[in-house]
């Protein structure tokens, strides 16, 4: 009898073992959920694509990363939100879209979830400026995904050869641009192409020179004296830029610097390929530092980047939040940086292994500590402001209008949007 009982027990145990070995491990309560994450085409998107299978393996949640161009992403997102079609559960959101998306309720407000999981998220490790990638007033519609620092990229070899120091002030920047313009080389290169390229580039210089897009009353102040002065300076710098710079966007600007045709540029820390050994002709000579500031001003640096938000119409809110928590964890952040992403955590920016491998992280940390995520106002009217500024800058750098007249016209264009 005992033998039969023992045999039956063994059989039950063997059956349990078989079932356990066949059934997938339940790694998350959301295992089996499908998430679609629409991401802008940028260096960090490749890192996210590489991390997706790891997330899937660890949690059992299926993550599909769809990469789209900037304009396409924006149009697709708006169409999805307005049509309530829930084509994607997660969206990468540009810092300047924050309030537009928040006011329309397109994305889930993460504030309560962040509060609920504060300890797990280790919020003190995320620098304050990073939150601007998705905040609007009390709402937090996106979690920091990638932080970009506005930096000055320069050709170290050219500076050494000319015997001049790396500029710390705007005046020194102009002087260095002039000094380095020789032997067929341009001292500096900027974006001159009408629209977002010119507008965004000029706004770097505006911040460096102490200007703002909005006045203290929250209304546009495009034609303020300091902005007019900055535009005059910006146009003046084109004397030391390549001939075609008035038509340049980011690609041509970076190419000009990377090929060694131009000695300086103000750039986002998004790519930084020119710092990679052997990647481009200027590799080895290129370096980055914080952007110069007007003499007498406290250092404030341009900050931008992307957040990750959950579509308010997504049926998979829990799984999406789990992904955000997973991606922002210190362990994954380290992997993320190794794969080409840019960190959001202080501990990642100061990680000894990473700093040894990527010395530029110390510059990014400095920018993050003194970063201004609002120098490009994160308001609903931003795209129209950017377009008006982009036209004004282009008109001035191509010599068609004076800085005062161009910015007066831009101000007249955008002022009615605030009435």
């Amino acid at each position: 009898m005992n033998g039969i009982r023992r045999a039956a027990t063994y059989m039950v145990l063997a059956l349990c073992a078989m079932v356990l070995s066949v059934a997938p491990a339940q790694k998350s309560q959301y295992a089996g959920t499908n998430l679609n994450f629409i991401v802008v085409s940028d260096q960090f998107s490749a890192a996210l694509e590489a991390l997706a299978p790891i997330f899937q393996e660890q949690t059992g949640i299926n993550l599909r990363v769809t990469v789209l161009g900037y304009g396409e992403l924006y149009q697709r997102a708006i169409a999805d939100f307005i049509g309530h079609t829930a084509q994607a559960d997660l969206y990468s959101t540009d810092i300047v879209w924050s309030c537009q998306f928040a006011e329309n309720g397109y994305l889930t407000d993460l504030a309560s979830l962040i509060k609920q999981d504060a300890a797990e998220l280790d919020l003190d490790d995320i620098p304050t400026v990073m939150w601007t990638t998705g905040s609007c007033g009390e709402q937090q519609i996106a979690f920091p995904l990638v932080g970009y620092a506005g930096v000055l990229a320069y050709n170290k070899a050219a500076f050494d050869a000319a015997g001049i120091a790396v500029p710390k002030t705007v005046a020194e920047l102009a002087a260095a641009a002039q000094a380095l313009t020789k032997d067929g080389k341009a001292g500096i290169v900027m974006n001159g192409q009408r629209g977002t390229p010119a507008a965004q580039d000029w706004m770097f210089y505006m911040l460096m020179n102490g200007g703002t897009i909005l006045g203290p009353d929250g209304k546009p102040a495009l034609n303020s004296p300091i902005n007019v002065e900055t535009l005059e300076l910006y146009a003046d710098l084109f004397k030391y830029a390549p001939d075609g710079a008035v038509s340049y966007a980011w690609g041509e600007r970076v190419t000009s610097f990377s090929e060694g045709s131009s000695m300086m540029m103000v750039d986002w820390s998004a790519g930084l390929d020119y710092l990679r050994e052997g990647a481009v002709p200027v590799s080895g000579s290129a370096a980055i530092t914080t952007t110069p500031v007007r003499e007498g001003l406290d250092p404030v640096y341009p900050f931008g980047g992307w957040g990750v938000g959950i579509n308010a119409d997504s049926p998979s809110q829990g799984a999406a939040w789990e992904f955000i928590k997973w991606l922002s964890s210190p362990e994954v952040q380290k992997q993320y940086v190794e794969l080409g992403g840019k960190p959001i955590r202080h501990s990642t920016l100061t990680d000894p292994d990473l700093v040894a491998k990527y010395p530029f992280l110390s510059t990014i940390l400095e920018v993050v500590e003194h970063g201004d995520g609002d120098f490009r106002p994160r308001i609903t009217q931003y795209s129209q402001i950017e377009d008006a500024v982009g036209l004004a800058v282009n008109l001035v750098v191509t010599g068609q209008e004076s800085a005062q007249a161009a910015l007066d016209a831009a101000q007249a264009t955008v002022a009615p949007l605030f009435q």
Binding site: G71, Y74, Q75, I78, I82, Q100, E103, N104, G105, G192, Q193, R194, G195, T196, P197, A198, P242, D243, G244, A245, V246, S247, A249, E252, T255, S256, E259, S261, T380, S383, Q384, D387, G390, L391, N394, L395, T398, Q400, E401
Partner: protein, 315 residues
């Protein structure tokens, strides 16, 4: 002997007229059955969008407006467009582009068509090569030309400078050259289409008329001017209408190369509508401008018909 009453002969079920009527009805029903899918497609994909565009153009309607309100403004959007300096400049630039691009394409296309029409060796190969630019995506063409035009490392700028042309900030960086540079791209890509259309027109002309003119002592030039060209008018009309409609919708090269600059030099209607509609999401205003563009196209097409109508033709 078979005998049938008159009534029988007229109709077993209503008579011959009734049969004919039924036949016609049946025929019409059959035709309607076969035409219905096409009509449905046109209705869904052409008529409905245009009708909706007209409807929405009477509203102040911004997709990203948090209040999601649609306020009826009547012809307000149309009046705003006509008073909008950017739209007026864009229309002017678009028309200048059409005149430049389509005009040059017509001249070059005609010359190429005449050349293709000659029985010269290798013409079949030339015709095949001519199709190549037509197969390329306009955006890809624009990106390639953008690199070619680059003032600092583009080969076009380099060789033009070597030849002594003062290009300053490059072909697309100078306000006086930018639109013309975009015309060159359009001419490069679409002249072959014009040439092939006109070539088919030349091929379809009756040889007897040319032979008669030759017997009467007409020179080659006279035959071309007084025989070929008048007979080519319907083909020229079709080619001009197609190319004008297309050129008025210029977008890719502006989007990829100039962004509408320098200044407003290359801001064209289609690009401006794209910006207002899909960047600002001001749908009502964008719809009004689209409808104005439609009116411009219809007016230009009517103008072509009036000028190029073959004398004596019903159209």
């Amino acid at each position: 002997m078979i005998s049938r009453s008159t009534t029988d002969l007229v109709s077993p079920r209503g008579g011959a007229p009734e049969r004919r009527r039924r036949f016609r009805l049946g025929r019409r029903a059959g035709l309607a059955f076969w035409v219905a899918p096409a009509l449905l497609l046109v209705g869904v994909f052409a008529i409905y969008p245009v009708a909706y565009s007209v409807y929405i153009s009477f509203f102040k309607y911004k997709l990203t407006d948090p209040t999601k309100s649609q306020t009826f403004v009547g012809f307000g959007n149309y009046l705003s467009a006509l008073a909008d300096p950017s739209f007026v400049v864009a229309v002017r630039n678009s028309l200048a582009f059409v005149v430049g691009a389509v005009g040059v394409e017509l001249l070059f296309g005609l010359a190429l068509a005449v050349l293709l029409n000659r029985e010269l060796p290798g013409m079949a190969l030339v015709r095949s090569i001519l199709i190549a630019p037509l197969t390329l995506t306009p955006l890809v063409v624009a990106l390639v030309w953008g690199a070619l035009y680059n003032a600092d490392f583009g080969p076009v700028s380099y060789y033009l400078k070597q030849l002594g042309f003062q290009l300053g900030r490059g072909p697309v960086g100078e306000p006086s050259l930018a639109l013309a540079s975009l015309v060159v791209i359009d001419v490069w890509q679409w002249t072959p289409l014009m040439a092939l259309l006109l070539f088919t027109g030349l091929r379809s002309q009756p040889l007897e008329l040319h032979d008669a003119a030759q017997i009467d002592g007409a020179s080659n030039w006279q035959r071309f001017l007084h025989v070929s060209l008048p007979l080519l008018r319907p083909t020229i009309l079709v080619a001009l209408v197609i190319r004008t409609m297309d050129a008025l919708k210029l977008f890719d090269s502006v989007f990829a190369i100039t962004g509408g600059g320098p200044g407003r030099a290359t801001e064209v209607v289609n690009y401006y509508i794209f910006k207002v509609g899909l960047t600002y999401f001001d749908i009502g205003y964008a719809a009004a401008m689209s409808n104005l563009l439609l009116i411009i196209i219809v007016v230009l097409s009517a103008l072509y018909l009036r000028v190029l109508r073959t004398p004596g033709s019903a159209s």
